[in-house]
């Protein structure tokens, strides 16, 4: 009984604070949107692109602050602009894509840092970089909800095409669907999603939110629809665990959310029924003991 009471208290006490409720709302919503998109990011192999877009939005965010605009606007312009720039430099030079991505996103991030030193209030910098989910304003919440709804609606409408693009872009082309358009759509969704997640965990950790849940779910299922559901579920649990843990331990909320996701990944990596390291290791040892090969790893 005491244990149960303690658990209830652990959740109930923070919930008395309005800022915790708001943080929870933003973290869960942002987490779900990121988690859904992360499934395609994982399968297309765009982890580095997620990192790039999230860092490249910094100048846009700073500009928006300076001119008092909703910062999603600036972030979208710079996120989309950076992606376009990466594409152009990649196509028109011999430099490989990962290097182009590295050049563009660090340059954009540096530009943001320089611009931010011109902005009067320095406290905002750490909020942008590391998130400030415990202090989100009504306007921020509204922005997160609207953008999240837009992303989820587009994904719901186009998910089969996006999966076809991720699996076989040449087939898409062969049946008259332009893979370039689908790629652009996915990059656009990524930019918007990054903006949503900025509120929860900040620029530095956004990339975790658009990779870890999808990568974790990928270890747990061979069905794409289940992968979406598992990914979203992981994000919700991680958001809740992260917010409450950070309250009780008085530590970084964004950090706790991402750490919770990393714990989920580690558990899946070790214990996933089919892909888990432990089971595979055991199966291999069993086969070796019986004098067979290691084909189970194929």
């Amino acid at each position: 009984m005491d244990v149960l009471m303690a658990v209830v208290e652990w959740f109930a006490v923070p919930m008395r604070f309005e800022f915790v409720q708001r943080a929870l709302l933003v973290s869960v919503v942002a987490g779900v949107v990121c988690a859904v998109l992360s499934c395609w990011m994982t399968l297309v192999g765009w982890s580095l692109m997620g990192d790039a877009v999230s860092h490249a939005v910094l100048p846009g965010v700073v500009l928006s602050y300076m001119f008092g605009m909703p910062f999603a606007l600036g972030a979208l312009v710079f996120g989309g602009g950076s992606v376009a720039l990466i594409g152009v430099v990649n196509r028109t030079s011999r430099v490989k894509e990962d290097a182009v991505i590295g050049v563009v996103f660090t340059a954009m991030f540096a530009l943001g840092l320089v611009m931010i030193s011109r902005v009067p209030s320095q406290t905002d910098l750490s909020h942008i970089l590391f998130g400030n989910v415990l202090g989100v304003s009504d306007a921020d919440i509204l922005q997160v909800l609207i953008l999240a709804a837009v992303v989820l609606a587009v994904v719901w409408y186009k998910h089969r095409d996006l999966t076809m693009y991720a699996f076989d872009p040449v087939h898409a082309h062969a049946i008259g669907v332009n893979p370039r358009l689908l790629e652009t759509l996915l990059l656009g969704l990524l930019s918007v999603t990054v903006v949503v997640a900025l509120q929860a965990v900040g620029i530095i950790l956004v990339v975790a939110m658009v990779i870890i849940p999808g990568a974790t779910a990928y270890l747990l299922t061979d069905r794409f629809e289940r992968m979406l559901l598992i990914s979203a579920a992981i994000a919700v649990v991680a958001a809740v665990a992260g917010v409450f843990t950070s309250f009780h331990l008085n530590v970084s909320t964004g950090g706790c959310i991402v750490l919770s996701q990393a714990v989920a990944f580690t558990l899946a990596y070790l214990f996933s029924p089919r892909q888990g390291l432990l089971w595979r290791g055991r199966a291999v040892r069993a086969l070796r003991a019986r004098g067979r090969g290691t084909r189970v790893l194929d």
Binding site: L43, R160, M164, F167, V170, I175, G176, V177, R223, F224
Partner: protein, 248 residues
């Protein structure tokens, strides 16, 4: 009669490299054409040209009497990729892959209707994959994987099929199964362009063969194209070495 595949004077350059040099290729409907050549001979480029994936510097491509783009939008072109180009760990079932063949027939959300499910079931039955339909695509053997992509083209109701190395990584028995399947498709009026390293299947499967080395070196019945002196002239190799040299 309008040719199913008609490439006229196609020249493709990648920067300085001349990948295709004034290639003419005409395949009548209902025929199987084998596309032969060594690595780097331009086979892949010719496939991409027919698919409209690379622009031609000169020349043109017509499929079933229309432009390549129009034929694609009508769903007339089916593509069976090389094994290396497919992510076999992708979380899709065989049935999902075959259903992607129907996307051109669906609305913008690609919601399958009963007719689409029927077409998928039919394609799975025709390729003998009905019992494996709910497996993840990578859980199939080499030959079954190929058949799954052929099933996708059948479900698509494509008239022209482009098959890129359908016999690569496939054992002898599956080779025969795939050849049978492709011959059945020919009987139902499909036109097939098959690139292959596997010369053994060419006389069995193909009505005609094209030997490519940037240019078309020979085009005709398989027994003529595969004559030792033709191969020797084209590649400077002796037929007894062909298997080793061609499957590098």
């Amino acid at each position: 009669m309008t040719a199913a595949i008609e490439v006229t004077g196609a020249t493709v350059r990648y920067g300085e490299v001349l990948a295709l040099d004034d290639v003419d290729l005409s395949v009548e409907p209902g025929r199987v054409c084998g596309l032969l050549g060594m690595n780097g001979s331009g086979k892949s480029t010719l496939f991409k040209t027919v698919l409209g994936l690379v622009p031609v510097d000169r020349g043109r491509v017509r499929l079933l009497g229309m432009g390549s783009g129009a034929a694609r939008r009508k769903g007339l072109v089916g593509y069976v990729p090389q094994s290396e180009q497919v992510d076999w760990a992708f979380p899709v079932r065989v049935r999902d892959v075959v259903m992607m063949g129907r996307y051109g027939h669906m609305g913008r959300r690609r919601r399958p209707r009963p007719a689409d499910r029927e077409a998928v079931d039919h394609a799975l039955a025709r390729t003998d994959l009905t019992d494996l339909a709910d497996r993840q695509i990578g859980a199939l053997s080499g030959g079954q994987r190929k058949r799954a992509f052929v099933a996708r083209a059948i479900a698509q109701e494509a008239d022209v099929l482009l098959l890129d190395e359908p016999f690569a990584g496939v054992d002898r028995r599956s080779e025969a199964t795939i050849t049978d399947l492709l011959l059945q498709l020919r009987q139902t009026g499909h036109t097939l362009l098959v690139s292959t390293h596997d010369l053994a299947q060419v006389p069995v499967l193909c009505d005609e063969a094209v030997l490519l080395q940037q240019r078309v070196i020979a085009h005709g019945p398989p027994e003529e194209v595969l004559r030792p002196d033709v191969l020797l002239e084209a590649f400077g190799i002796h037929p007894s070495e062909e298997r080793r040299s061609w499957t590098s």
